[in-house]
């Protein structure tokens, strides 16, 4: 069968880039200046303080404020970003005051967009780097301030250290001017500049005002060998608040004269309400008003009350009926759409090498075929969606735990009919994010309700049920795979077809509606097409299923299912080859030098776990490796299947290139793995009659204390480039678990959640 010729990746990237770039500057082509020019510093100095750059303020009283413009949602990013400043500024991290700061273009994230480039992480060729450069500059031009894609440490690594180094240079230069000496002769330590000759010293606070106007050149960053803070585990900056129950989250916002509210939005996405018992809701004790909510993200009602529980009761009393669904309304119809998509033409293939058809037509070995699938998933952050808004005297103020404050600002301002300049966004702590809090629906609804409160602030909290049924879901996906595997050798031909709705199309359409986004959506096959394998005939194609169910970024995005698809099928190929899963994986890498970190991680984890040792009856060990967000992660899972399955122990060897905070990196790996086990074991979002079936934690379970395994983790630092931390533990968890169960029982699990076919121990 003849196939259409596909455009090469470079062309596609150019198209995507121009599409976005043109939108950003109102249809006018931009020049180099747009990339070179630095966005305006959003910080304004208060009385008695100096602003050094968008990240550092120092006041006369000695307070050093560091703006860490990435959302703290548990990943410890504020601690690490502040440590970068501390390292160059010569202050103890504990002496820094840390703030999220205002939304601003200056806080653009280019690393997140660089990660969107198509070449596999290990491709560092000129063309690949050029693509990353292009994508990265897009982040700057768009002024996109967002937390996601495991990019914050990578993005901040130079920016934050440079901020610290320039501030230190300015402080030294101010001291030099006072003492009439050369700045190079001065020393800094513990927030103080010292002249070792005269033994004079001045604190940063004393120098702050002078230093603001000091001219300094390009700072030189300290070499890794000189680091005193980076590379060492730091106590979490906000730990005291978090062990004392301090009111730091969005849901804890309390303001004078504040009202409380909730929303009841149509559980059929995009549908309008048909009827509701507004009077019954109004009659609930404590309910003040019921208003209509019509936004781009959903339609329904807002309940305004004098306490949250009254608002919840009001929403319940509404008993609303909703319009019909305009999309496949149940699981069967959704599976049908995915099947139709996979049977149709591919939309793109980011891996397309050799000749698949010839490879499959002339099998030199065993033909291996398999079908895999995963369901939709909810984020289930522990803190339900909520935000507070106040619209008074033409000024809109929002308090929200958001991963994208800039978008919240512009979208809520537009909705309220207020200028962006008159809209303040206060980013507060996030009780979990995982991608969910990059959306605008929760602040948008708070804004909608604030338009009915005559200037009083209102905190709008969703019930857990509302949260579960109005998520932007990790999409369902279907995979069909074929391979030719000779005995004792690596596969010669691998074909992976993957069908799924496009996350990018959904996110851009919903959250960035002004942004035309062309080109392929990499997330559909991310984690499948760009893994460390070298195959002669290799094709990984994406088949777009157009389903109007809102989907979004969910911890590790496409890798969350492609890691399972890729590594699960890898094990099936290994079985056909007669090699064990570890040896087969190593064979699949060929001799390519660039894949050395993967080999090292696999060998390390095998050694740590004694992978090859014989297993006692009922026990099984499974291995997987997934390269995602620039980090190489190998995992071995050990299960006991004598009774219901229990995950006993997990070993991880991970290589993110450079680790700035080893303890936090380990914690992130554990967290990511547990997130992945929760997914694999029992999570699914089902649809019936156009609405989500699941409601709360009882029917959308997560791993519990009694189910959690022991962990042993080793960090390797062989890779040359720095990778992420927050998401990388998730992708290998499901395939390593499936492999362990297969190892113990001979049962192959190809469909998540595994509770469809096996049972896990409950405590």
């Amino acid at each position: 069968m003849a196939r259409k010729k596909r455009s090469i990746v470079g062309k596609i990237v150019r198209r995507t880039f121009l599409g976005l770039g043109a939108a950003a500057v109102g249809g006018v082509a931009f020049g180099v200046w747009a990339v070179r020019r630095d966005p305006e510093n959003p910080l304004v100095a208060d009385q008695g303080e100096s602003v050094f750059n968008p990240y550092i303020k120092i006041s006369q009283d000695g307070t050093i404020t560091v703006i860490t413009p990435r959302a703290e949602m548990g990943q410890g990013i504020q601690t690490t970003l502040a440590a970068m400043v501390a390292e160059e500024l010569d202050v103890a991290p504990s002496d820094l005051t840390i703030a999220h700061g205002p939304p601003a273009a200056a806080y653009y994230n280019s690393a997140m967009l660089e990660e969107g480039a198509f070449p596999p992480h290990f491709d560092r060729s000129f063309a690949a780097e050029a693509q990353r450069g292009l994508m990265g500059s897009m982040g700057k031009i768009l002024g996109l301030q967002a937390t996601g894609g495991s990019s914050s440490t990578i993005d901040g690594f130079n920016k934050m250290r440079e901020a610290g180094a320039t501030a230190r240079a300015a402080l030294k230069s101010a001291a030099a001017a006072r003492w009439g000496v050369n700045a190079d002769t001065l020393q800094t330590a513990n927030g103080t500049v010292t002249n070792p000759v005269s033994d004079q010293s001045l604190t940063y606070g004393e120098l702050a005002m002078d230093a603001a106007t000091a001219e300094v050149g390009e700072p030189e960053l300290r070499p890794r060998s000189d680091w005193k803070i980076l590379g060492r585990s730091q106590p979490r900056a906000e730990i005291a608040e978090k062990v004392t129950g301090a009111p730091i989250y969005g849901i804890d916002v309390e303001l004078p004269d504040m009202l409380y509210g909730t929303v009841a939005i149509s559980p059929r996405f995009g549908a309008q309400p048909l009827s509701a018992d507004i009077d019954a809701a109004r009659n609930v004790r404590g309910v003040i008003d019921v208003v209509e909510v019509n936004t781009q993200t959903g339609n329904g009602y807002g309940i305004i009350a004098d306490n949250t529980w009254a608002a919840f009761e009001g929403a319940r009393a509404l008993n609303a009926e909703w319009g019909p669904a305009t999309y496949p309304a149940n699981d069967n119809a959704i599976t049908g759409a995915l099947t139709a998509a996979i049977q149709g033409e591919a939309n793109h293939a980011l891996m397309d090498k050799g000749d698949i058809d010839a490879g499959l037509a002339d099998p030199q070995g065993t033909l291996v075929e398999a079908e895999y699938s995963v369901p939709y998933l909810a984020h289930a952050t522990m803190e339900p969606m909520n935000a507070t808004a106040q619209l008074a005297d033409g000024h809109l103020t929002i308090w929200a735990g958001t991963q994208a404050p800039g978008i919240v600002q512009s979208r809520c301002a537009a909705f309220a009919g207020v200028e962006k300049e008159n809209t303040t966004v206060n980013t507060v702590m996030l009780g979990g994010g995982f991608g969910r809090r990059g959306e605008v629906d929760f602040p948008l609804y708070a804004t909608a309700l604030a338009m009915h409160t005559a200037g009083r602030p209102i905190k709008v909290t969703w019930t857990r049920e509302e949260d579960t049924q109005h998520d932007v879901y990790r999409p369902a996906a279907l995979g069909r795979f074929r391979a030719v595997v000779p005995a004792n050798g690596p596969a010669t031909t691998v074909e992976m077809k993957i069908a799924s709705p496009s996350i990018m199309a959904s996110v851009v359409g919903r959250t960035y509606p002004d942004l035309p986004m062309g080109g392929p959506d990499k997330s559909i096959t991310d984690g499948a097409y760009n893994q460390p394998v070298m195959v002669e005939n290799h094709r990984v194609s994406a088949h777009l299923a157009d389903l109007a169910i809102p989907v979004g970024f969910w911890r590790s995005v496409g890798n969350s299912y492609n890691g399972f698809f890729h590594e699960g099928f890898m094990d099936e190929m290994a079985a056909a080859s007669g090699l064990d899963p570890l040896t087969f994986r190593l064979a699949m890498m060929g001799n390519d030098e660039r894949l050395a970190p993967a080999r090292a991680c696999l060998e390390k984890v095998a050694q740590m776990s004694n992978y090859a040792a014989p297993r006692p009856t009922g026990k099984g060990r499974g291995i997987a490796h997934v390269l995602s967000f620039g980090s190489w992660v190998a995992m071995v899972v050990e299960v006991d299947t004598t009774d219901d399955i229990h995950i006993e122990k997990v070993w991880i060897a991970a290589d993110p290139g450079t680790v700035l905070d080893p303890r936090n990196f380990r914690d992130q790996l554990m967290s990511g793995a547990i997130f992945g086990f929760s997914q694999a074991m029992g999570q699914q979002i089902n649809f019936e009659d156009g609405r989500v079936v699941q409601e709360n934690f009882w029917d959308y379970p997560m791993m519990t204390m009694g189910q959690a395994p022991q962990f042993e983790i080793e960090i390797l630092q062989n890779a040359e480039t720095m990778g992420g931390a927050g998401e990388i533990g998730t992708p290998p968890a499901a395939p390593a678990l499936a492999a362990a169960i297969f190892d113990a029982t001979g049962q192959r699990l190809r469909h998540m959640p595994f509770t469809r076919e096996v049972s896990f121990q409950q405590v």
């Binding site: 548990g74 990943q75 410890g76 585990s233 106590p235 979490r236 906000e238 730990i239 005291a240 608040e241 978090k242 062990v243 004392t244 129950g245 301090a246 009111p247 730091i248 989250y249 849901i251 804890d252 309390e254 409380y260 004790r285 404590g286 306490n307 949250t308 529980w309 009254a310 919840f312 952050t381 522990m382 803190e383 339900p384 702590m429 996030l430 009780g431 979990g432 995982f434 019930t463 857990r464 936090n664 914690d667 554990m670 967290s671 793995a673 547990i674 997130f675 929760s678 709360n696 934690f697 009882w698 997560m702 791993m703 519990t704 204390m705 009694g706 959690a708 022991q710 962990f711 405590v763």
Partner: protein
Amino acid sequence: MQLNVNGQNHQIDADPEMPLLWALRDLLNIKGPKFGCGVAACGACTVLLDGMPVRSCSLPVADAAGEITTIEGIALDGTLHRVQRAWIEHNVPQCGYCQSGQILAAVALLEETPQPTDQDIDFAMTNLCRCGTYPRIKAAIKTAAGMES
């Protein structure tokens, strides 16, 4: 209605059906107990009622007769409770949202079982943590108990 929270009496005017959680959070501005599920499934709202852990989202305020202790009430004279100190030592919290509940559940467990085994911990600590901090919670409980972890 009267509520005794962290040794202080408060007079409140509330629907007797209102869950204790919302009386604490919205009427008394005690924000330590968190809202996670509203159906006694997660434990984020855990408080101690006469020393016993209860899920305040599912306890009508009218039934909350007794001494209520929230996370705000376990530190003594500015000194953190040993469980809180162990939490800091082990860097337990990530997003931290579940941790007020986890800490109170651990305080109650150690009152009942000063030297808990792994199994005791698994049975008693049924609070959910979406960030997956379980391994560190377990280690911190043992530290707080003065055991090797």
